[in-house]
């Protein structure tokens, strides 16, 4: 641990990584509780994997047609794929009550396969997909931090405007509809918010970590609180702790910080689950 702080004095990437974790925690703290309480973890996972198709398309187009698409970065393709599929998934959630998991599973697999296929047929060697899957929290740039700060501002603004509607959907969508709330339209806004969060965070912390960060801290928050507001606060604190402490703890060891973050979060969730069952501890 002391080695981390000694190196941080000369390596600014270590501080920017910690700051990125803190900023990611803001988005996870707000969006995570909506994802968990509305039971959208699977759909959020699908969004992230469908986006791989967009990442692959962006890499293919920018490499094969550099004169037309040279400006295209992988995140642009991922963002387009996620933003287009978010309303589609929202509509499927409303229309396909029974076969939803099958259809979403198919979209998940197809999106990922298309991305892998396009990267395979793209000339040259490309590491962007690995970066998309596992992130790179050790080398967060100033541009990434700006991205995260903008995302946090957008997430806070949309959540402030829509919170009562999102809460109503999480609690009782039928009652929300009877009270005049357009449930599908509100779900589409929520899905777009989740899509933006997933894509921007995936650039920094990776696809695997973003699903863990969107679900586990929020599940801990839901366990420990009785209202959604305090649940968001607990989720933010847990996210901030698990993106900071395990990273510092494994610094200088062969353990990857992303894996340490996921395992520490899962371990904490397990402890909270068992602790809340009388007689376990």
């Amino acid at each position: 641990m002391s080695q981390f702080f000694a190196d941080a004095a000369i390596n600014p990437f270590l501080w920017s990584g910690l700051l990125a974790g803190g900023l990611a925690s803001v988005s996870c703290g707000i969006v995570g509780p909506y994802v968990v309480t509305r039971r959208l973890v699977f759909l959020a996972g699908a969004l992230a994997h469908i986006a791989i198709g967009g990442v692959g398309a962006a890499i293919y187009l920018s490499t094969v047609h550099p004169q037309t698409f040279g400006w295209l970065e992988p995140i642009h393709g991922g963002l387009v794929a996620a933003v287009v599929s978010a309303p589609l998934l929202a509509v499927l959630k409303h229309r396909m009550k029974e076969r939803l998991d099958t259809v979403v599973g198919a979209l998940w697999a197809v999106g990922m396969s298309v991305g892998i296929l396009l990267i395979k047929i793209t000339p040259g060697y490309h590491t962007e997909l690995m970066s998309y899957l596992f992130g790179n929290i050790s080398f967060v740039t100033g541009r990434d931090l700006v991205f995260l700060a903008v995302l946090s501002t957008v997430v806070i603004t949309i959540a402030c405007v829509f919170h009562r509607r999102f809460l109503a959907l999480c609690l009782d969508a039928e009652q929300a509809e009877l009270r005049g709330i357009p449930v599908l339209a509100t779900d589409i806004v929520l899905f777009l918010l989740i899509a933006a969060t997933v894509i921007v965070l995936t650039q920094i912390v990776g696809l695997i970590l973003v699903i863990a960060l969107l679900s586990l801290p929020a599940a801990i928050g839901a366990r420990l609180t009785t209202r959604l507001g305090p649940s968001m606060a607990v989720t933010f604190v847990v996210s901030a702790l698990v993106t900071t402490l395990p990273r510092i703890a494994v610094y200088g060891t062969p353990v990857s910080p992303e894996a340490a973050i996921v395992l520490a979060t899962a371990g904490l969730y397990l402890v909270v689950m068992l602790r809340r069952r009388p007689g376990v501890f």
């Binding site: 009562r164 005049g180 609180t225």
Partner: protein, 238 residues
């Protein structure tokens, strides 16, 4: 004579891609001070009728007037209490959060409910004797407490009509008595339409009863017993 709060005329309905009509030539009305029971066999169309009255479905033929307007226009003035709350117990929500859903409307924007909404929610909890539950987590409530809170939610919407779907299902006799006493009190100022399978409850507490089995017909609520119910189930007129 005052205008009925529910006025259904020659209503027929069938679901898309289904040839068989779930409800056919249904006509009935509910007066402004009445407590009316809806009885009928499973699959007889009670749930469909409720969904039509709440504006969740549109009639194929015929008309429905609720509080003098169309169901979709007036549904904010109808306090609906479902049989089982679809509120997910894993959601971190207090009783006050649940009751405040009754204050939700198309103009609800922003993170917090205004003070007026919070005051009305607390007044509804007081009316249903559940003020002490306001800060409790929804997931910790018993079945009886949940039903009272859902009635509070319906009242918080400043409803002019209460529609309840088997509110006594799954609660013990003591809590059922308390609940019926509450509904009697509320019926002094609100008309109530209530689905129930309990003939004793219908005959003791309600002004009228309607038998729903593809069509709707009036039955004698005060002389309901297992024999008359048996006749109704077999399609014979009582």
């Amino acid at each position: 004579m005052t205008r009925p709060v529910i006025d259904v005329t020659d209503l027929s309905f069938r679901y898309p891609r289904n040839r068989k009509e779930v409800l056919s030539e249904v006509s009935f009305s509910v007066g402004a001070t009445e407590w009316v029971g809806l009885l009928g066999p499973n699959g007889g169309g009670k749930t469909t009728l409720l969904r039509l009255l709440l504006g969740q479905l549109a009639p194929r033929i015929g008309s429905i007037e609720i509080l003098g307007g169309s169901p979709t226009k007036m549904r904010q003035k109808v306090g609906y209490v479902p049989q089982h709350a679809s509120i997910d117990s894993s959601v971190p929500a207090s009783v006050e959060d649940v009751v405040l859903l009754g204050r939700l409307s198309g103009s609800s924007w922003g993170p917090r409910y205004p003070q007026l909404d919070r005051d009305l929610a607390l007044a509804s909890l007081e009316e249903t004797d559940t003020t002490d539950l306001a800060d409790r987590a929804w997931r910790t409530l018993s079945g009886g407490q949940r039903q009272r809170v859902l009635i509070a939610r319906a009242l918080a919407s400043e409803a002019d009509l209460l529609v309840l779907d088997e509110p006594t299902t799954g609660i013990d006799i003591h809590r059922e008595k308390e609940l019926l006493h509450l509904l009697e009190r509320l019926n002094e100022r609100l008309p109530i339409l209530m689905v129930s399978h309990d003939i004793a409850l219908v005959s003791h507490h309600m002004d009228r009863a309607l038998w729903v089995d593809r069509t709707v017909r009036e039955i004698d609520a005060h002389h309901l017993d297992s024999d008359s119910l048996e006749h109704l189930f077999h399609g014979e007129h009582s």
